[in-house]
């Protein structure tokens, strides 16, 4: 597990700026097949998470991993955030942390 570099807090839109780099996001699991999870990003896009752990459908899952393109992440660490998570607040945080306050995070 490579935890040497910081991970950018991203939603699907912002992930486009970090392709090939370490990112950190939260998705709501829609379906899970053989280690590949398809989930909804906090800004309403579908993301594919590869080598993900099993998280129940409709739960929120946090993913640390490498952004392979703007729709797929190769997961390093996954955490089940449970069924109750404020996706809107997280989405707002991603926007702040990748823009005006980037210097505090990356």
């Amino acid at each position: 597990m490579d935890t040497s570099s910081p991970a950018a807090l991203v939603n699907a839109e912002i992930m486009g700026m970090f392709v090939g780099r370490r990112v950190r996001t939260v998705v709501q699991v829609q379906r899970s097949e053989g280690g590949v999870v398809v989930g909804l990003s906090t800004d309403g896009h579908q993301l594919t998470i590869k080598s993900a752990m099993d998280v129940p459908v409709s739960h929120f899952m946090e993913v640390y991993g490498i952004a392979e393109n703007n729709q797929a992440i190769r997961a390093e660490v996954c955490t089940d955030f449970g069924p109750n998570f404020d996706a809107k607040a997280f989405d707002g945080l991603c926007k702040l942390a990748s823009d005006k306050f980037k210097h505090m995070f990356l």
């Binding site: 807090l9 955490t79 404020d86 607040a89 942390a97 306050f101 995070f105």
Partner: protein, 273 residues
């Protein structure tokens, strides 16, 4: 200064430790800490990145400053890694996604031991502790390490970091702007009063017209326009006689409160830089 008496008293305290003469240092340091006291002793939510970027005071004390604020007690939220349990303490690395920092938790009471047994590698934890620097390496001596049960706490922590950062950075710059151009100090309170004051201002005294004109330039929708606005725009907003407004604008140009931008007809307030 002390004469012979001091020599005697010094010999009494010759073994080292606290010397009476050190009391002379108190007024100095208390003068400095007046401005910083509250911040220095309050708990600051931070990202690890902010800690690693923090300036360390040049003296050998382990004082850190972030945004010009002295930092001693911090709150960090991240994942626990590499937990090592020893006889009297537990050491681990905290990774909050922005960086990693070593954390140490002394186990003085059985409740401390119980608290530390409750958290394991991979868990998200909230750490409150003292920020220390030793030989250039920064670490945290934790007062409490709690497992995150509600994952919204993570989002909340980072938003709190941003909020506190803003609190420490924004007011200062506004104060600087006000002191640098004292004329604005009187005008700042009037930015949004246009609608209520227009009708009454037809025969207003010069100062009121001046405030009204500046309130147009300071309106949120205007102040950030790169090219500023024309006099016609101001006239249209205020519905005041052209010669009156022209006079006021020229006065403020002379005072340096507003300036021409792309041509002789566009004006912009100097307030936002």
């Amino acid at each position: 200064m002390y004469g012979g008496g001091a020599a005697n008293s010094n010999s009494l305290f010759g073994g080292g430790g606290f010397m009476p003469s050190q009391s002379t240092a108190v007024p100095e340091s208390s003068g400095i800490s007046n401005s910083k006291g509250r911040s220095a002793h309050s708990l600051l939510p931070l990202t690890v990145k902010q800690i690693m970027d923090a300036a360390q005071a040049s003296d050998d004390k382990s004082n850190f400053a972030i945004n010009g604020v002295e930092v001693t007690t911090v709150r960090l939220v991240g994942r626990m890694l590499g937990k090592v349990e020893r006889v009297t303490d537990v050491a681990f690395t905290l990774d909050d996604g922005t960086g990693k920092i070593d954390v140490n938790r002394w186990e003085n009471e059985s409740s401390d031991t119980k608290e530390m047994a409750d958290v394991n590698n991979g868990n998200y934890v909230i750490v409150n502790g003292g920020l220390k620097g030793f030989q250039g390496k920064r670490h945290v001596v934790a007062y409490s390490v709690r497992r995150v049960m509600n994952f919204n706490d993570i989002t909340h922590h980072f938003l709190h970091c941003i909020h506190v950062h803003l609190e420490h950075t924004t007011p200062k710059s506004q104060m600087n702007a006000n002191t640098a151009t004292p004329h604005h100090a009187n005008q700042v309170p009037f930015p949004n009063n246009q609608a209520t004051t227009f009708s009454a201002s037809a025969n207003a005294a010069g100062d009121d017209v001046s405030n009204l004109v500046m309130s147009v330039f300071h309106h949120p929708s205007v102040i950030n326009l790169e090219h500023g606005v024309t006099m016609e725009y101001v006239l249209d907003c205020l519905k005041l006689p052209e010669d009156v407004v022209r006079k006021v604008i020229l006065y403020h140009v002379e005072q340096g409160n507003i300036y021409n931008t792309i041509d002789d007809f566009h004006y912009k307030s100097a307030m936002n830089g």
